[in-house]
C-alpha cells in the first residue's frame, strides 16, 4: 500500500476535515482544517491505517499571520507498511491550545512538552505539561519569532537567572538560497534589503517547484 492510497483512505473517512494531499518530492502532506480533531485523526491513523510510530511533532511560528501557529505531525508505519505521512494543522494565537495525542503515541508526551516550552502552545489533556528544557518559572517562550536571539533578562531566585547576550553589532543572519556564498553568509541584514532578497528567493523557489512538480498543482 502506498502512502497516497493511505492518504485517500484518511480523507475518505474524515471528508471535509482533511484538505490535500499535497505532494512534494515524494512526500505526502495532509492538512487538517480543525485542530480540535487532531486526536480523532491520529487515533484513526494509528488504529486503522497502521501508523504505529510518531516520528516527530514540530511547531511553526507564522509571525504576523493568522493563524499564527502551525503544528506538524510526522507519522510512520514502522512495523506495518513503512510509509511516511505528514499532517499539518493550524492553531490561532488567541487559542494557542489543541488536544494532546500522547494517549495515542506515548512518545508525544515529550514532543508536546518541548513545543509548550519553546512556543507556548498548550496541549489539552496532557498528563504532565511542564517545561522540558528551560526551568519552571522562566517567563518567556524563546523560539517565538518576536523573542530576540540575545534573550531577555529574567530572575528566579535560587533557580536561575538570564541576561541579554551581547550581539556585537549582530544578530548576524544567513540568507538561505542566496545566489552565492557572499549573499548567503551570516551578516547584519536590514529589513528593506531582506525583503527584496527574500522575494527574489521565493520567485526562484516557485520556479523550482514548477519545474519539479508540473502536473500536481496542489501546492
Amino acid at each position: 500500500m502506498t502512502v497516497a492510497e493511505i492518504a485517500q483512505k484518511l480523507k475518505a473517512h474524515f471528508g471535509e476535515l482533511i484538505s490535500g494531499p499535497a505532494e512534494f518530492r515524494g512526500e505526502i502532506t495532509l492538512k487538517l482544517t480543525d485542530s480540535e480533531k487532531i486526536l480523532q485523526v491520529c487515533g484513526f491513523a494509528k488504529k486503522e491505517l497502521g501508523f504505529t510510530m510518531l516520528l516527530d511533532i514540530s511547531s511553526l511560528d507564522n509571525y504576523g499571520e493568522d493563524p499564527r501557529w502551525t503544528l506538524v505531525y510526522e507519522l510512520y508505519g514502522c512495523t506495518t507498511h513503512q510509509q511516511h505521512l505528514r499532517l499539518k494543522t493550524n492553531v490561532s494565537e488567541e487559542k494557542s491550545e489543541l488536544p494532546t495525542v500522547s494517549g495515542v503515541w506515548p512518545t508525544a508526551d515529550w514532543h508536546e512538552r518541548e513545543i509548550y516550552d519553546m512556543m507556548g502552545v498548550r496541549f489539552r489533556g496532557h498528563p504532565d505539561l511542564r517545561r522540558i528544557l528551560m526551568w519552571d518559572g522562566y517567563p518567556y517562550f524563546p523560539l517565538r519569532k518576536d523573542f530576540p536571539l540575545a534573550g531577555k533578562p529574567s530572575e528566579l531566585a535560587e533557580v536561575a537567572f538570564t541576561k541579554a547576550a551581547p550581539q556585537q553589532g549582530g544578530p548576524f543572519v544567513t540568507l538561505p538560497g542566496g545566489k552565492d556564498t557572499i549573499a548567503r553568509e551570516p551578516r547584519v541584514r536590514t529589513p528593506e534589503v531582506d525583503a527584496v532578497q527574500t522575494n527574489a528567493r521565493l520567485e526562484r523557489r516557485r520556479d523550482v517547484i514548477g519545474a519539479h512538480a508540473p502536473e500536481s498543482g496542489s501546492r
Binding site: Y140, A150, G151, K152, F161, T162
Partner: protein, 183 residues
C-alpha cells in the same frame, strides 16, 4: 636500655652522612610547593571540552605528570575546578554551588571559548562566561582547546599558586576564628 636509646636519638639528631641532602626553605615555600604539585581537579565537564579534558587525563597527554591526575567528582576534595564546556543558565547556579562547596584554597580554569565568554552561543540560554558567577584564574582559548593547551593552563596556574602566603593566611584564619568565638 637508656644508654642505647640516647645513642639512637643522637644519631637522628645529627648524622654527618646525610648532611648534604638537607634543604633549608621557608615554610610558605614548602607548603606552596606541595600544593602546586598536587592540584586535584574538579572536572566540571559540561560539553565537548570535557572530551578533551578526558584526553588530557588519559595516557597520551597524561596530566599526572603535573600531579593533577586525581579527578575528584566531589568538590570537597578538589583544589581546581576545570569548567570544561558551555555553561547554560540552567546549569549556572549549580556550578556556583559546587564551587562554593570546594574547600579553600581553590582555583578555577575556564576551559574553552564557551566557558570563557559564552563562545559562539550569543543566545538566551547561555551564560556569557563563567566569570560572571565565579572568579576565574586561567582562561584557555580554543573550541575545544587541545590537551596541550589545558596542560599549559595548568602549568600557568601552578606558577600562580606560590603567590599565597600560606602561614599568614592560616594564622590569620585561626585568629579570626578565635575572635569570632570570643564574640
Amino acid at each position: 636500655m637508656p644508654a642505647q636509646a640516647m645513642h639512637t636519638s643522637a644519631e637522628i639528631g645529627y648524622n654527618s652522612k646525610i648532611e648534604g641532602d638537607v634543604v633549608h626553605t621557608r615554610l610558605d615555600a614548602a607548603l606552596n610547593w606541595f600544593r602546586r604539585n598536587s592540584l586535584w581537579p574538579m572536572p566540571m565537564g559540561l560539553a565537548c571540552c570535557a572530551i578533551e579534558l578526558m584526553a588530557t587525563g588519559a595516557s597520551r597527554f597524561d596530566i599526572s605528570r603535573f600531579g593533577a591526575e586525581v579527578m575528584r567528582f566531589s568538590p570537597r576534595q578538589s583544589d581546581v575546578m576545570i569548567v570544561a564546556g558551555t555553561v547554560t543558565y540552567k546549569m549556572a547556579l549549580a556550578v556556583k554551588r559546587i564551587y562554593d562547596q570546594m574547600a579553600e584554597p581553590k582555583w578555577v580554569i575556564a576551559m574553552g571559548a564557551c566557558a570563557s565568554t559564552g563562545g559562539m552561543y550569543r543566545s538566551y540560554a547561555v551564560l556569557q562566561g563563567v566569570d560572571n558567577i565565579i572568579p576565574v584564574d586561567v582562561y584557555v582559548a580554543g573550541c575545544p582547546p587541545r590537551p596541550e593547551a589545558l596542560l599549559d593552563a595548568l602549568i600557568k596556574l601552578q606558577s600562580k599558586v606560590p603567590d599565597r602566603p600560606v602561614v599568614k593566611e592560616m594564622t590569620l584564619f585561626s585568629h579570626q576564628k578565635e575572635t569570632a568565638n570570643v564574640a
